[in-house]
């Protein structure tokens, strides 16, 4: 059975996007205007989704961590306190933006915009459903790496431009931490690329369609006749490493050295107030959710339910919800980690990245390359994924 055929019936683009385009063109709307409308609608939808997700994520994190800590959390504004983040945003909007006299005006202003911009860009390549994406770049993984590196620059110039020693420490730590975790994080990204033999995120998701054991997190899967035996030495470790690197790159506990409130009072955010601070906050949560979405896309089958193509096909309109559910679970795991773990010390963080994670992730890439070539030779016994072309 050809997966492409199966999804050609139920594809967001083919079922909704293209008929709508044809209808608009049929009305006499010029092609360039249709394209413009699509870009505008797509961009607005993504921005709206990010805002809604961030508001819900902040609320969920506060409620969940409150339950972990035996308290209630925000429960006053709106039903279950759901509008607490909105109230906070309104409060921050009304606050004065204070820039220290000694700060570098341009860098101080630029940093929050740069960080938020970079974290929003990542969302452009996420495949939400079959045929549902802002853009399906064929080098999406490289794009992720490129835009994933920009927040480091933003945090650094925020720390430098604030002219505050605590901010400067935050900025200096940011450079080292982001760069260190970028390396193992990037190396494990090669694992799904090797398994799917594509850098396009849609292709990576399609390669994980079908039954549960096709998810990259369970690879390699050995077959004794028709019975799958997942021995997830590659997939699981790569997935966990990707999450760890994601924690480090989104500045969350136990890697929150850049803010480290007990040492650096607020790190690079020390001299930011009002909406500028809110932008940092928004970017941090947008990044955290994006890590959850990308981890689901790369390792947990993306928008696939794992119950087989027939089920996926039957509930195709709900598939974005499947992806969001997976991402929400990963986000809640992040919150759980935050509620449990203390902070690593700075040098321990470096040791962990360079001495533990990097060698293992390089070994993982070699192993997955080995299995990828073995699977083409010994197809019936070792099969990595059905999408291997």
């Amino acid at each position: 059975m050809n997966i492409g055929d199966l999804y050609s019936q139920h594809d967001f683009w083919l079922s909704i996007g293209q008929p709508l385009e044809n209808w608009l063109v049929g009305l006499g709307v010029p092609n360039w205007l249709v394209a413009l409308i699509y870009v505008a609608v797509g961009g607005a939808a993504i921005l709206g989704a990010i805002t809604v997700f961030v508001i819900i994520a902040i609320w969920a994190e506060r409620r969940f961590i409150a339950r972990l800590q035996d308290r209630l959390g925000p429960n006053r504004v709106g039903k279950f306190g759901l509008l607490q983040s909105v109230a906070d945003a309104v409060k921050l909007l009304g606050k004065e933006i204070i820039r220290p006299r000694q700060a570098d005006p341009f860098l101080h202003f630029l940093a929050p915009a740069l960080i938020l911009g970079a974290s929003l860009m990542v969302w452009a390549v996420i495949p939400w459903g079959p045929g549902l994406h802002v853009t399906d770049l064929n080098v999406a993984v490289l794009y992720l790496l490129a835009f994933g590196a920009i927040p480091a620059l933003g945090v650094t110039i925020a720390g430098w431009g604030s002219t505050n020693k605590y901010s400067l420490f935050g900025g200096m730590r940011a450079v080292v931490q982001y760069v260190s975790y970028e390396v193992p994080g990037a190396v494990v990204l090669i694992v799904p690329v090797l398994l799917a033999r594509s850098m396009s995120l849609q292709d990576i998701v399609q390669a994980q369609s079908g039954p549960l054991w096709n998810w990259f997190v369970f690879q390699p899967v050995f077959f004794v006749g028709p019975i799958p035996i997942p021995i997830p030495i590659i997939g699981l470790i790569a997935f966990v490493y990707y999450l760890i690197a994601g924690l480090a790159e989104t500045n969350r506990t136990p890697f929150d050295h850049v803010e480290a409130d007990s040492e650096l009072t607020g790190g690079f955010t020390t001299e930011y107030s009002g909406m500028q601070f809110a932008l940092f906050f928004l970017a941090e949560y947008a990044n955290s959710i994006a890590v959850g979405l990308l981890a689901s896309t790369l390792f947990l089958g993306g928008y696939h339910t794992g119950l087989g193509d027939a089920v996926d096909n039957a509930i195709w309109i709900l598939l974005p919800g499947v992806l969001i559910t997976k991402a929400a679970i990963i986000f809640l795991i992040f919150v759980w980690v935050r509620g449990t773990l203390p902070r690593f010390r700075y040098d321990q963080l470096m040791q962990f990245a360079w001495k533990r994670m990097l060698p293992v992730s390089i070994a993982l890439v070699s192993l997955s390359a080995l299995f990828a070539s073995l699977s083409s030779l010994l197809g019936p016994i070792i099969r990595l994924a059905p999408g291997v072309r």
Partner: protein, 396 residues
């Protein structure tokens, strides 16, 4: 740019940024070097536990010099004590170690009793031990919880500890009437008797508390990140601890088996069967562990005191206005943070002639600048947290 990462405009010595202030404060040992960064930690800083101030010289992230500056919470308690009668002086002791006021009350009461020869009735001694050990538990709960914050948790151990502190405060408010600043232990006895419902509630608390200690241990003691952050950090060798006259859990974590409750038994501590926990590495982890173990030992003492307490007077017979004969007395007890000493001189009037305190936090803090040197900035904060200081007591 020079061969340094520090921008020109926030380099170490810039008079506009207030480096002359350091000189006027008498900060010693600040080296003029472009590669060093002088970092002012506090007095308003999340992890200085009050208004403590620490001026550190850093090379990168490494502390190469630390100068503590105290006195931001100075309220001249000792002078105030001289201007008040003996019973009024009790209220001042509450405000020193406000996390465990009853132990400071106790040291003060003991000094007056040594001065006057008042004999405390037995029930009052039991009530003193019970409330004193509850205070110790409460203080150690805060110490363990805030230490978790200093190591970088998002407050989960602290909130677990605060949950039990609530029950301890509820318990303490039964005999004392208030949650904080109770002035409960006064010379000659205690302020009021415990109501009958206090003892069953204490019994219940003692039953559940050990399992709660297990919870803190589960989230901190066995936590790999926590162990990495605290084991081998801020080691105080026993000779250094002795040289700085460090007392309390810090001293016992350094392997010195010394507890005033056993070395110089006061009250009725010689009647109970308990152990003095001692650990030998002297690092932050051991200081944390000593506090956890002491909470378990306090539970033991409390259980025995609860079983043995009998009816009786709670206050000795004494005059309305106390006028001790001329003389002096020194009393010391084992507070949760170390040895609390009170030195009183009487000149025969209703007011003490000298009202002198030996605050454990203050004495313990003196070795910070030696211990913190050579560690990372993050470790300096952890070391400060492991000292468990209360600024009300340090500055008085």
């Amino acid at each position: 740019m020079a061969d340094t990462l520090i921008p020109e405009r926030i380099s170490t010595f810039n008079p506009e940024l207030g480096d002359t202030m350091f000189e006027s404060l008498g900060v010693q040992g600040v080296v003029e070097d472009d590669n060093l960064l002088t970092l002012n930690l506090g007095p308003q800083h999340p992890s200085t536990h009050g208004v403590f101030r620490l001026i550190m010289q850093l090379q990168g992230e490494t502390v190469i010099g630390a100068t503590p500056i105290m006195g931001y919470l100075h309220r001249s308690t000792e002078k105030l004590g001289e201007a008040r009668t003996y019973v009024q002086g009790t209220v001042l002791t509450d405000r020193m170690d406000y996390l465990s006021p009853i132990t400071t009350n106790w040291a003060y009461a003991l000094a007056i009793e040594r001065l006057t020869g008042l004999v405390v009735p037995e029930r009052a001694e039991f009530l003193r031990v019970i409330t004193g050990e509850l205070s110790r538990i409460q203080s150690h709960l805060i110490a363990v919880g805030t230490f978790g914050m200093d190591v970088g948790t998002y407050g989960t151990p602290l909130l677990y500890a605060l949950r039990e502190r609530e029950s301890v405060l509820d318990l303490l408010s039964l005999p004392t009437g208030v949650r904080m600043n109770p002035s409960y232990i006064r010379y000659g006895g205690v302020a009021r008797d415990a109501p009958p419902e206090f003892f069953p509630q204490l019994e219940k608390f003692l039953r559940i508390f050990p399992s709660k200690i297990d919870e803190y241990e589960a989230i901190l003691t066995s936590n790999e990140v926590f162990r990495n952050r605290t084991i081998g950090v801020g080691m105080i060798p026993p000779e250094v601890a002795r040289a700085y006259s460090v007392t309390g859990p810090i001293l016992r974590a350094s392997g010195v088996d010394y507890d005033v409750r056993r070395a110089e038994p006061y009250s009725i501590y010689d009647r109970f069967d308990w152990e003095v926990p001692v650990r030998y590495n002297g690092d932050c982890f051991d200081r944390y562990m000593i506090r956890v173990l002491e909470m378990r030992q306090s539970t033991r003492i409390l259980q025995q005191a609860l079983d043995a307490i009998s009816e009786g007077d709670i206050r000795a017979k004494m005059p309305k206005v106390l006028k001790p004969a001329k003389g002096e007395a020194y009393a010391r007890i084992e507070g949760p943070k170390g040895e609390i000493g009170f030195y009183l001189i009487s000149d025969g009037t209703p007011n003490p002639y000298r009202y002198n305190v030996r605050p454990p936090s203050f004495v313990n803090l003196t070795c910070l600048s030696q211990i913190a040197v050579g560690h990372k900035l993050a470790d300096a904060v952890v070391i400060l947290g492991s000292f468990d200081i209360v600024m009300g007591e340090v500055d008085r």
